[in-house]
Symmetry: C2
Subunit: 449 residues, 2 copies
């Protein structure tokens, strides 16, 4: 049943690698599912990982190669000859083969392709290399089942038997006309129930959801999710069937997108994983930290404008963190919802005015509750004047941050910038500066400084 | 091809609904895919949505009902008689049928079930209602193809034709023994290639990945993603096959999980959507705002302890926002990576010590760069003493926040609390308080107050 990776297993494995205990490795590791071998390899040092890799069967090698960390894949590939890489490529589906080749150094690509023995495979890969990896063309594979409109079920089954040899996962059969144009789909279920003498054109479903080669990956994901599809055909400008995309690749797109959004909202600019190097993680975090520091310096600038006030009423300084924290929290909350509904892209945009009106209503409600609470806290800390100042400022900041947090992602979206950028440090920083300005202005007004 | 919802279409639709223009509605709306009808309904007022719903064919009604917002579904169901609800239920797959029934008021459940005409359907639903919705049992459906180990391919095809009538989506055929115990799978591809006289036991794949009824939904998602599965069989304690889960349900689990994490990291405590009511959104945001305000009050408490220092050196107040913002940013960055790798659950936990060491290395690197930059800024603002104070404080805060941001999610995880709670306002707030204490302590030390 499911393989579970334990520390004991890893220790035994490292021992077996050290002693070159081939029979143990063959029995305990090589028989596992490629995905399990990958999770083992991710826990090993680079040298041991490579050593284990070479113990695997050829077709498992290819699957493992595609799933391990990029650094390790690069290292393994650099140790293989162009012939050996071509062999790995031939053991992969066309979409993965193209991905693998696109990662090779430019000067190696042509050589590897020339070493691929099967001409059709080579052609498919060369074709797939033309597409942007973030589009349907970059995600699709050339392995799919295809039947002609005017075939009988009997002929269809004979042809499918041939085709199925090369298609690992069979979900739907695509129906094309004599010009290879996509006409519809035929479900396996229909085929199972049909009589051998039936004609495809009488039993196929002409209503088919497809994407074009240049449809963006995220949109493909939204479409497959919306219509609950496990595979979707891809057509070119002439409406010819050129490939299909399967749901497992889309699940990866959805997870990557979610990871990216989550990381961006957390102020991390590159896609990183916890086992990346200190240097890489550090670099991915630096841009936001510098923006945050810039914001901090701007805030310092704002406060220094009120230096006289602070030296007279030092208690004004007490509530600086409260004002900045609340502005940040409200801003992030407001933007998160907008960012999410923009990413899903499955609703007509309400007018901006309507969104802002709603956000202001929420801010009025939350602001009223919180600012009346904080009045009493500041009153106890110092006096009624400070109570009023903090309370009024908090109320204004909550409303400002709510509007600002809603507007920024909408504006970024309109200018085709990823609105996920807006959440996290950017909005927080801007709200800090604006919130402090509001706070101290109200403070000066009340204390008449 | 793909339906695209436009404002013009909506206007025409509202006109057609007003004029009860049935032929327009039948032609333009009722022929659409259920998912498209749902996106139209989401844009309508409640009354018009219900009006449109009643124009739909019966089996489309059921699909639409399952996908619209919960509030609207509740409203529609409240207007239907138990018999009518039972009809809707019979048009759904068993998993959705069970979900629908579980949303009904308790006193209605039994009555609706008694009105279901097909006994087997009713039994399946009653069985499914027993499982926790967040487990494999709660996600699975009773519709799947099942063959016996000792059948021939010919008999298998005959039996499958019968079974396929009830199974909307056919992916994999499950093989069971005479006690209904799951023995393996048979791919449709294998069946397509096999000879009618072959025995199932000679062509099936005994190595099968399955889950148990009590496996958690998130783990099911991780397993299906890891092994690239489109469907997975579910077995009970006796290893009997009791259902299957399809990838479309898992895509929903993955998206919901990602949304939840993103919202939680943004300080939103309930799962909400941008079209929820002001009151609901407001309530979902309140808990974090109150925590944030509590943190702000604690910060005020810390600063008030240094009131004397501030009145002497008001410039100390300038950098309060910088210190709190940077502590927050670093804390969130550190925790995000830990939260993500915990959610994925696909790696052996490094020892906590190793994670902390790495985080400290990153913090040392980033801290050194940023604190040497800020030295010069604070120097220009005021003088070398303040430069040193701010620089040293920033360095300490970055290291503290890095460690704290890593530890908190690990600790929450150990105590089985969702570590996504840790990112967002909670860590930010704690870092504010600690950072201010560090900053003012260093300040007092240097200025000798």
């Amino acid at each position: 049943m499911l393989f579970e990776l334990t520390r004991e297993f890893l220790e035994q494995l490292e021992l077996a690698l050290m002693n070159k205990n081939e029979s143990w490795l063959k029995e305990k590791v090589c028989s596992l599912h490629a995905a399990d071998i990958v999770s083992i390899i991710n826990e090993l040092d680079k040298d041991k990982a490579i050593q284990l890799f070479h113990f695997l069967d050829e077709d498992k090698q290819a699957d493992v190669l595609m799933e391990v960390d990029e650094d390790l894949r690069e290292e393994i590939l650099s140790q293989l000859s162009p012939e050996e890489i071509a062999e790995q490529v031939e053991n992969l589906d066309s979409d993965e083969a193209a991905d693998l080749i696109s990662e090779l150094p430019k000067e190696q690509v042509e050589e590897v392709i020339s070493k691929i023995e099967d001409d059709e495979t080579a052609e498919d890969i060369v074709d797939l290399l033309n597409y942007d990896p973030d589009t349907a063309g970059g995600l699709m594979q050339k392995e799919y089942l295809k039947v002609h409109l005017d075939w009988s079920v009997k002929r269809c089954v004979i042809e499918l038997r041939k085709q199925a040899e090369n298609v690992e996962k069979v979900y739907t059969i695509y129906v094309v006309d004599e010009y290879e144009k996509l006409k519809g789909i035929l479900s396996l279920k229909k085929l199972l129930i049909a009589n051998p003498s039936d004609k495809i054109k009488d039993i196929y479903k002409p209503d088919v959801i497809y994407v074009k080669t240049d449809t963006e990956a995220e949109e493909v994901a939204n479409i497959m999710d919306k219509y609950d599809l496990v595979s979707i055909p891809v057509v070119d400008l002439q409406h010819k069937l050129v490939g299909r995309i399967t749901i497992d690749d889309i699940v990866d797109v959805i997870r990557d997108e979610a990871d990216k959004d989550f990381q961006m909202a957390s102020g991390i600019s590159e896609n990183i994983e916890s086992n990346d190097s200190v240097w890489k993680i550090s670099r991915a975090r630096m841009p936001w930290l510098i923006i945050g520091m810039g914001g901090g310096v701007l805030s310092a600038q704002v406060i220094s404008g009120f230096e006289g006030g602070i030296s007279k009423i030092p208690a004004l300084a007490f509530f600086i963190p409260l004002i900045t924290a609340m502005g940040g929290n409200v801003g992030v909350q407001s933007s998160a919802i907008v960012v999410q509904s923009l990413a899903r892209g499955n609703e007509l945009m309400d007018s901006i005015f309507k969104k802002i009106t709603k956000e202001v209503s929420i801010a009025l409600l939350n602001g009223a509750i919180l600012s009346s609470l904080i009045y009493w806290v500041a009153f106890v800390f110092e006096n009624a004047t400070l109570g009023l100042i903090v309370s009024l400022s908090l109320f204004s900041v909550i409303i400002f941050a709510g509007i600002f947090g809603t507007l920024i992602p909408l504006i970024l979206h309109r200018y085709k910038i990823d609105p996920a950028l807006a959440t996290g440090p950017f909005i927080t920083t801007m709200n800090d500066v604006a919130g402090l300005f509001i706070y101290f202005s109200i403070g000066m007004l009340f204390y008449g400084i």
